[in-house]
Amino acid sequence: MSVLTLTIEGRDVAGQTGHTILQVARENGIAIPTLCHLQGLSDVGACRLCVVEVEGQRKLFPACVTTIDEGMKVTVNSERLAAHRRRIVELLFTERNHICSVCVADRNCELQDLAVEVGLTHFDLPLLSPQAVVDATHERFGIDHNRCVLCTRCVRVCDEIEGAHTWDVMGRGTEARLITDMGIPWGDSNTCTSCGKCVQVCPTGALFEKGRSVAEARRRRPYLPYLVAHEGRTR
């Protein structure tokens, strides 16, 4: 595995071939906002929060899936990127119904943290306020589609780590939403092993543990050792 040298934010850094800009940046303490990325799961480059500028390229590149090249000059923080990230977080907040004040994940949600990180204080765009349901048929867990940002972490962890592939996305565009098996209530699923990995990886209050309220913040992913062990393994 040969080592490549490049500059990120003007700093000379080195990384192994095949590693992504995100990996190398984080190894060198350079922060890049992410949402759909989760170490241990395959990357899909869907939320676009981690797009960065590469010198000599008009296009922006998602740091989570773009592998490094020798002599690459990467800019992570620029006015343009900051504005794009703020807009992406705003779009997510306006797509469905993210009412932090009454959400089970209040003060324990990555989308909420991102709003602070990108400096979002309000939404210029109107809230789309779609109708979305809550499925609490599972004995221990529930899903609130109002809070889902379609990052598909749950789909990936269920497929790649648990192997049950209970979750998938149905429909297209902004009508897309998560389903269990043939679109049946979660409690009736016969592929779900009730392992709860999806609940642990969900960045927002969409997947939650029943009986555990906002006051009892749930433990987050760092405690899932087997996820880190499967670094980047895709199936």
Partner: protein, 176 residues
């Protein structure tokens, strides 16, 4: 130089933001010494005055009454501050936007009533089709998200405004 004229108003909100304003405890008197409170829950003024320097607006715009008031506030205020998630994002009052006001009124005033169920009549302000954040209707100068924003944050915002600084809430505080 006369003291800045401060007003507070609360539209479709739960008064939690005003309570948080009072939660600055003794510092409240430091603020009241440096400003004239010309309108609000703590003073007995009925008409919104003219040339107000700063108005803290709590609550979403949900009824025609809110709409009338916010236009009046905007006309007479230099710096309009959207205080709290309801004003900034329509928050909980906005949750009815998914199903519209009719369903809410029917549930409360027709279904859940023992005798003479009826929808409250012409004297009360009509609910708008959508409950909206303040900046969806008028220009807002400062956003203070939070449900409620902490007393410290409200104090620092007021302190900045009184001293002529532009308060920065981006990256400091968040919704919820």
């Amino acid at each position: 130089m006369s003291k800045p004229r401060l007003a507070t108003i609360w539209l479709d909100g739960c008064s939690g933001c005003h309570m948080s304003l009072l939660d600055m405890d003794e510092r409240l008197f430091d603020i009241t010494e440096r400003v004239d409170i010309v309108y609000g829950a703590l003073v007995d003024v009925k008409e919104f005055p003219e040339d107000v320097d700063v108005t803290l607006v709590e609550g979403a715009i949900s009824s025609e009454d809110d709409l009338r008031k916010i236009y009046e506030v905007r006309r007479n205020t230099r710096v309009l501050v959207s205080l709290g998630d309801c004003a900034v994002t329509s928050n909980v009052p906005g949750m009815r936007n998914q199903i519209g006001p009719a369903a809410i009124l029917e549930r409360a005033y027709l279904e859940n009533v023992t005798i003479n169920p009826q929808l409250p009549g012409p004297m009360v302000p009509r609910l708008l089709a959508m409950s909206r954040p303040v900046h969806a209707v008028v220009k807002v100068d400062v956003f203070v998200p939070g449900c409620p924003p902490s007393a410290d944050l409200i104090h620092s915002v007021l302190d900045d405004l009184i001293s002529g600084r532009v308060p920065v809430t981006a990256g400091v505080t968040c919704f919820g």
